[in-house]
């Protein structure tokens, strides 16, 4: 038979050796270019396939021309029994089927739940004896869990998230920790709470409503107070609420996700009514509003041309930006509470996203 045809249909051993060697060389080339030289992935990919093509083509030419290394009188089949090959194929199929039906996110969720459970139980037992460095490590663990879950939308158990948030918040109230560690811990606690609310909405434990449902129609202009007395997750798409009145959160937890507010009066668009009431505003722009910051968790929020008020209550800011805002009230209140002008200036005058928590 023709040597070219023999390469593909007779000499299995040589063919797979050529494939293996060529792939190995191309693999090393790609690895060096991507990890050491940091070249663009797309270009390196094309070059790698090109190298593979050239190497295999040259090998075939050498095989056909009976170059010494390929000068074998008889073709050799591959020394793998069909039964063994079939067994490996079945195993591979089973593995893919398992991964498909189990679902990688579910597998990841199980691991993250395990890590959260471990975190919660260990923290309770050892927290009192832990030095600050270990506390920082644990906060990093929480950050990694939250980041992984959020990025890959892994269905982590919302109860475990809420549990971890409670445990972390309680421990951070200890007086022996440095301000830096405390702030990092509070930021992690806010992220945990934010993710826990998202998961509650995703699992249906808290109903998700659209801006249209809240406004009872297509107009998002609110002229009279809206009392929110049930747990709600209001999910918008940067829907703009024009506020001539306010949302009163009363003995409930309400999340405003991707809702923008434009104010028209001196009333705060979001009012917290008493203990047991919680609100979280996430991914929002607040324009021309007069807003008290107390009691609301602000995550990825930008205030523009607004008057920022503060009553000495819990202050929870995570990536909050103030642009052209009147911060005099906040500045004065924090100046009295914190007694640290530099810290107050870093919150009110930086112009950069601020993450800061104050728990009275």
């Amino acid at each position: 038979m023709n040597r070219f045809a023999a390469f593909f249909f007779e000499d299995q051993a040589v063919r797979w050796k050529v494939y293996g060697t060529s792939s190995g060389v191309a693999f090393i080339y790609a690895l060096v270019n991507l990890l050491i030289l940091h070249r663009e992935e797309k270009i390196v990919g094309v070059e790698t396939v090109g190298i593979l093509l050239v190497l295999i083509s040259l090998s075939i030419v050498a095989y056909v021309a009976r170059v010494r290394i390929f000068d074998e009188a008889t073709a050799r089949p591959l020394k793998i029994s069909s039964a063994r090959l079939g067994l490996v194929g079945v195993f591979a199929t089973a593995l893919i089927a398992f991964a498909y039906f189990t679902g990688i996110p579910r597998m990841q969720a199980a691991i993250l739940d395990f890590r959260l459970e471990r975190f919660n139980s260990r923290w309770t037992v050892y927290a009192a004896y832990q030095p600050e460095q270990q506390l920082q490590t644990r906060v990093r663990t929480i950050n990694s869990i939250v980041e992984t879950s959020s990025r890959n939308q892994i269905p982590v158990d919302s109860n475990l998230l809420a549990g971890a948030q409670t445990v972390l918040s309680n421990e951070l109230k200890g007086p022996s920790l440095s301000a830096k560690t405390k702030q990092a811990g509070w930021a992690a606690a806010i992220d945990l709470q934010s993710l826990a609310y998202t998961r509650l909405a995703q699992t249906g434990a808290v109903p998700t409503v659209s801006p249209r449902q809240i406004a009872n129609g297509p107009s998002y202009h609110f002229e009279s107070p809206v009392v929110l007395a049930d747990n709600l997750y209001i999910k918008g798409d940067h829907s703009v609420f024009t506020m001539d009145s306010e949302f009163v959160v009363s003995r409930a937890t309400v999340v405003f996700d991707s809702i923008d507010f434009v104010g028209g009066t001196s009333e705060s668009p979001i009012e917290i009514d008493g203990a047991g009431s919680n609100a979280l505003v996430r991914d929002s722009i607040m324009r021309n509003v007069t807003q008290y910051l107390d009691g609301v968790i602000w995550v990825d929020v930008r205030f523009e041309n607004s008057k920022i008020m503060y009553h000495d209550g819990p202050l929870r800011l995570r990536n909050v930006t103030f642009k052209d805002c009147d911060l005099s009230e906040l500045e004065m209140a924090l100046g009295i509470l914190l007694k640290n002008p530099e810290l107050v200036a870093s919150i009110t005058q930086s112009g950069q996203p601020v993450s800061f928590t104050y728990e009275p």
């Binding site: 249909f9 693999f27 990841q108 890590r115």
Partner: protein, 101 residues
């Protein structure tokens, strides 16, 4: 006197040619399939590592290896199939099988 040679039965033809060729192609396909499973296992491993909080640098290296592996395998499958296609087109199955007769 010339001895009369009996033509092969259908089963003999099937056993010597069709089945052996089919087994060869099936064998190649299985090898390639098993190799393709490698990047899939690596991908699952990366996800598991990520859930366990592995450092980003290790995840990046693993992802790079995974993508190169996949690119090489796709290239290999294409080249192998192209080679076989050329052989079949130029020499035809009959000629390829002639050696076995």
């Amino acid at each position: 006197m010339v001895k009369k040679v009996m033509p092969p039965t259908f089963w003999q033809l099937y056993k010597d040619h069709v089945r052996s060729r089919g087994a060869l192609l099936l064998g190649d396909a299985t090898i390639l399939f098993v190799l393709v499973v490698g990047p899939i296992i690596l991908l699952i491993a990366i996800q598991v590592m990520e859930a366990f909080g592995a450092q980003k640098i290790y995840l990046n290296v693993a992802e790079t290896i995974d993508s190169i592996w996949l690119v090489l395998l796709v290239g290999l499958v294409c080249l192998d199939s192209l080679g076989k296609f050329i052989v079949i087109s130029f020499f035809s199955w009959r000629e390829v099988l002639k050696n076995k007769l």
